[in-house]
């Protein structure tokens, strides 16, 4: 156990030396602090003479309205997804689809009025969460690409392997070290947002932390793929290029191919099969962020597929690491 912790701690030290990791920490903190600084509440008198408190953002006129409509849009999309997930495929461009969307939006808009301040904060957290999600994932790819190639460098790996440790501990220690760091950075950012927005608006919204598990899962899967590549080729640059290539290009194409509503019945059947086999980071990100607004529907399939890929990549990476001569 002590050795495992030592490897995790070493990965922590290694990361502290990486400029990209420091940039990630800086950007996440900046995003959270800027949000907290710009948000505040004002009291407004409604048409019927009642005084209500609204959440507004400096520099954005009608921010209260925008946030309320944003919440309705997110909530209705979530309900719409439930229709799609349950096999009731809805073509968003058809008359029927348009009508359903409008109905759901109107319902959500009414729901938004029940607790306007809370809904506004939820929308705000969703938006900031989106930025945090994208920034952290993008920079984590660069930060984690070098962990395994550095471990496996000739002359570096020898001493570690010569210690009385099973290889799974070395592999897992390095992996968990990278993930611990990422999780800590996220936890800090979301905690800053939670307390900052709570103090500024009076709305304490612990659901903000519900983004984390799926975001950690996404990062973990991406890291496992990058680790696998790092073990196979031992190249930081290659691991980084493939990581970005997959996350930014392949995944977006997959998102379109697997989830866009087009094609005949045969294609749609194939889509369903592929959805159960290919991970999709966009889908998991959307699912994670929807947790902030307490959406009624959670699409678990992409989550399960991603988890399976995490285990598969990690297992394959370890198997190669275990069998290799250094």
């Amino acid at each position: 156990m002590g050795a495992l912790i030592a490897i995790i701690a070493d990965t922590w030290r290694q990361s502290r030396q990486q400029v990209v990791f420091l940039i990630m920490l800086g950007l996440l903190a900046l995003t959270a602090l800027t949000t907290v600084a710009l948000v505040h509440t004002v009291e407004v008198t409604t048409d019927d003479g009642a005084v209500v408190e609204k959440v507004v953002v400096y520099g954005i006129d009608d921010a209260g309205e925008l946030l309320s409509e944003g919440w309705a849009g997110l909530y209705s999309t979530s309900i719409l997804a439930e229709y799609v997930n349950e096999g009731e495929s809805v073509d968003p461009f058809s008359e029927e689809g348009q009508e359903l969307q409008q109905k759901l939006f109107d319902f959500a808009a009414l729901e938004a009025q029940t607790e306007p301040k809370r809904r506004a904060v939820e929308t705000l957290i969703w938006a900031v969460g989106f930025v945090v999600y994208v920034v952290s994932m993008m920079l984590f790819i660069a930060a984690c690409a070098g962990y395994f190639p550095a471990l496996l460098e000739a002359g570096a790996v020898d001493i570690v392997l010569a210690k009385p440790l099973e290889r799974w501990k070395i592999f897992l220690g390095k992996y968990l070290g990278g993930m611990a760091l990422f999780t800590a950075a996220l936890l800090g950012t979301y905690a800053l947002l939670f307390f900052g927005l709570g103090l500024r608006t009076g709305v304490w919204h612990p659901a903000i932390f519900m983004v984390m598990p799926l975001q950690v899962l996404s990062a973990g899967t991406l890291f496992a793929l990058i680790a696998l590549l790092g073990v196979i080729r031992g190249s930081t640059a290659l691991a980084m290029i493939v990581g970005y290539g997959y996350y930014l290009i392949v995944d977006k194409i997959m998102q379109f191919l697997l989830f866009a509503n087009f094609g005949g019945e045969g294609w749609q059947s194939l889509q369903k099969v592929l959805r159960a086999a290919i991970p999709n980071f966009v889908r998991v990100r959307d699912t994670a962020l929807m947790a902030v607004i307490n959406a009624p529907a959670t699409d678990w399939q992409p989550v399960m597929v991603m988890f399976a890929w995490l285990l598969l990549s990690l297992g394959l990476g370890y198997w190669i690491f275990h069998r290799r001569d250094f």
Binding site: A3, A6, D10, R13, A154, P164, R323
Partner: protein, 326 residues
């Protein structure tokens, strides 16, 4: 006799059919200093890596401290300094010792004591807080030796320990190695510096093309290379032709004249093989009877380097004459 390291028919064939080790059987007594010699590509580093499970054996068996090398427990209380090591450049000298000490299972005050002790032994106490990336090659090598000795291991593998170290520091490292064996550690050294092995090691083995050509004590190896005879050099005045004919019949050979006075009375060198030291006196007597001036008589001991070339070079068309001339 108890053995710290024992191998039976150990073999390693890399991908592509490259045979690095073929049926290597070695026995290294506990508490001894063992030197493994061999030309480049002989398989010396591979053998150490196989013993430490950095490289998997293709066949045969081996034990380390009496434990099968396939078990992680075999590597408990084992230190290792690989050739061309690369320590994480974000670590200080004490950080390197602490990290690898932790991986070796040490912790707390015992580990801190060991760090102090080993850095002191290699003369780096004052540099303990300095990052290793700022160290010269020699200093980095000393850090490597320190980390290998952390925890007073039962077996220490040193692959080219004095590589890149200046003569003064080299002497210091030899002292460190002597102290380690004096404390009861078994030290296994891979080195190209045969003189170093000769002064440090009790036992040696010569590995060539993955096969052990010879093993035993240094004296046994020298005897194996030189046969049972002894070579003796004489520096004399002019020898009458009749006497020289008799000596030449017994195998005496004149050595090329060195720069200096020439002529009939000039001193000259010749050498010859004798069965033992008792044969030297009659030769001197015969020289004195012929009124030949005898300036010097010196037995020419074969050095390990000569023995190495004698044993290895035969297959490469090399032969060493006594005195190291190939």
């Amino acid at each position: 006799m108890e053995y710290a390291i024992q191998t039976i028919n150990l073999s390693k064939t890399y991908g592509g059919g490259i045979k690095a080790l073929s049926g290597v059987s070695l026995e290294v007594p506990r508490g001894s200093c063992f030197g493994l010699l061999g030309p480049n590509g002989a398989g010396k580093s591979t053998l150490v890596k196989v013993l430490l499970s950095i490289v998997r054996a293709s066949g045969g068996t081996a034990t380390l401290r009496g434990v099968d090398i396939r078990s992680a427990a075999a590597r408990e209380r084992v230190g290792y300094l690989p050739e061309g090591h690369r320590f994480p450049n974000y670590l200080t000298a004490e950080g390197v010792c602490r990290y690898f000490g932790q991986l070796g299972g040490l912790a707390g005050p015992e580990l801190e004591r060991e760090i102090d002790d080993k850095l002191e032994i290699v003369g780096l106490s004052e540099w303990r807080k300095v990052k290793v990336k700022k160290f010269s090659k020699g200093m980095a090598q000393r850090v490597g030796v320190a980390q290998a000795l952390i925890g007073d291991p039962e077996v220490v593998f040193l692959d080219e320990p004095t590589d890149g170290v200046d003569p003064v520091a080299r002497q210091g490292l030899r002292e460190v190695i002597r102290k380690a064996t004096a404390r009861g550690s078994t030290v296994f050294i891979n080195s190209h510096l045969l003189a170093e092995i000769e002064v440090l090691c009790d036992y040696v083995a010569i590995l060539d093309k993955g096969v052990v050509r010879q093993q035993g004590t240094v004296a046994e190896l020298l005897a194996a290379a030189s046969g049972a005879s002894l070579s003796v050099r004489f520096r004399t005045g002019s020898i009458p032709e009749s006497l020289w004919t008799k000596l030449a019949e017994r195998g005496a050979e004149r050595e090329p004249a060195a720069a200096g006075p020439e002529g009939a009375g000039a001193p000259q060198w010749f050498h010859m093989e004798v069965a033992d030291e008792a044969e030297i006196s009659p030769i001197i007597d015969s020289l004195r009877e012929a009124a030949v001036l005898v300036f010097a008589v010196e037995p020419r001991r074969m050095r390990l380097e000569d023995a190495f070339i004698e044993l290895i070079g035969a297959g490469r068309g090399m032969h060493v004459a006594r005195g190291g001339q190939i």
